[in-house]
Amino acid sequence: MEWLNKWFDRLYRTFIVDDRYKTLISGLEKTLIITLGALLIGVIIGTIIAIIKVFAADNKKLRPLDVLCNIYLTVIRGTPVVVQLLISFFIIFVWAKDGTWVATVTFGINSGAYVAEVIRSGIMAIDAGQMEAGRSLGLSKIQTMKEIILPQAFKNVLPAIGNEMIALLKETSVAGYVAVTDLTKAANQIKNTTYDSINPILLTAIVYLAIVMLLTKLLSIMERRLRKSDKS
């Protein structure tokens, strides 16, 4: 049991002394804030882009907007998210002192490009008869989209959005590039202060894993609930 005692001692010196675990907790907080904020922004952007692309398919007046959307999708999906972060922080939002909101916005804009395709495919999967039924009652195209198509599309793509959230959570671990002390950065700082390169990194991995497993579980519960009104 000698090694166990040694290990506990090591853990104590790494995480407890000088309240270093608090750095980790505040890092975790930042990670979660960035993830949730970015997901929210991503879903909003993604939904707007998806709707524009769907409507532009049979409305020539929307073509210019469609072109803008395509440029956005190409640029965002064609460049690494770390580079996008650096551009945001050092070129666009140069006055920003706190990188957290810059990271949130950047990850949100990044995520929007991926969510857009997910939601668009969700909309396309809805039977054309649903739009026709809505329109035949006198609802406008936008009202039908909002009341009838989107609720069904969201339900269909919920698992994919959940996966996007999981991917996002892990992607935010590069937020340290722009002066954000997220979970990963916090672990790195502890490593540098304590010269313990094993425990902080392993603990961080465990925390990410635990959150991902929790999210996966929540997602499957939510899916089951939503299935209640599904077609048999």
């Binding site: 039977d127 008869g129 649903q130 026709e132 039924a133 809505g134 329109r135 035949s136 009652l137 006198g138 609802l139 406008s140 009202q143 009341e147 009838i148 609720p151 069904q152 339900k155 209640k228 009104s229 599904d230 077609k231 048999s232």
Partner: protein, 243 residues
């Protein structure tokens, strides 16, 4: 009530598929017009042109004296007065029966939520489904779904009802319950335009039958005229096959 002037409809990227080849027709208030004809003759397309679910390639459609093919007309307002029932019901699967029915009247501010629900329950009572108001569409049979779809359209208090093969997707034993609802509607004086293959219904309910073939109305008349003494060769041939 509805008047169409020389409408044509083409499909395809270069309009190469000519579905409607010039139709002139007037449907008066209170009429019950049944459209019959072989598959691909353009019956459904013609019906869908009446509320501009399909935009005619040429020609004009008038509803209650107003040209609705005019791009300046707000088609959504016009459609509030034209109920439509589809072959595949097209109920909203994420909403309950009651929500399916009340969504449009409430969102379009035709009624308050309470008024719409009262009206919906009254109509559900009429079609014998008052006890299913909280069910989801997936929990209903085909015949029940179609009766709900009819109620959904009726709740907007339309001036005319369009039926696009309302019983074609139903199991045979459920056809009757839907036709009964439509007959009641006809007895109440609703103006109806029905595309159907139910010849018994056509004979009993229609006051005028249009026979369509190859994108045109080739013959029309009362049920007695069409079924008893068809003049057109194509009509005779069609009826000999379906009767």
């Amino acid at each position: 009530m509805i008047r169409v002037e020389n409408i044509e409809k083409c499909f395809g990227d270069n309009n190469e598929i000519h579905v409607l080849k010039g139709i002139d027709e007037v449907i008066e208030k209170g009429e019950r017009v049944v459209i019959i004809g072989p598959s691909g003759s353009g019956k459904s397309t013609f019906l869908r042109c009446l509320n501009l679910m399909e935009q005619p390639t040429k020609g004009k459609v008038f509803f209650e004296g107003k040209e609705i093919t005019d791009p300046k007309v707000n088609i959504n307002e016009v459609r509030q007065k034209i109920g439509m029932v589809f072959q595949h019901f097209n109920l909203f699967p994420h909403l309950t029966v009651l929500q399916n029915i009340t969504l449009a009247p409430v969102k379009l501010k035709r009624m308050t939520k309470e008024e719409a629900e009262r009206e919906a329950l009254r109509l559900l009572e009429m079609v014998g489904l008052a006890d299913r108001s909280d069910a989801y569409p997936s929990q209903l049979s085909g015949g029940q779904k179609q009766r709900i779809a009819i109620v959904r359209a009726l709740c907007m208090k339309p001036d005319v009802m369009l039926f696009d093969e309302p019983t074609s997707a139903l199991d045979p034993e459920m056809v009757g319950e839907v036709l009964d609802v439509m007959k009641n509607l006809a007895d109440d004086g609703m103006t109806m335009v029905v595309v159907t293959h139910e010849m018994g219904f056509a004979r009993e309910v229609a006051n005028r039958i249009l026979f369509m073939d190859d994108g045109k109305i080739t013959e029309q008349g009362t049920p007695d005229e069409i079924f008893g003494n068809p003049k057109n060769e194509r009509t005779k041939e069609f009826l000999s096959k379906v009767l």
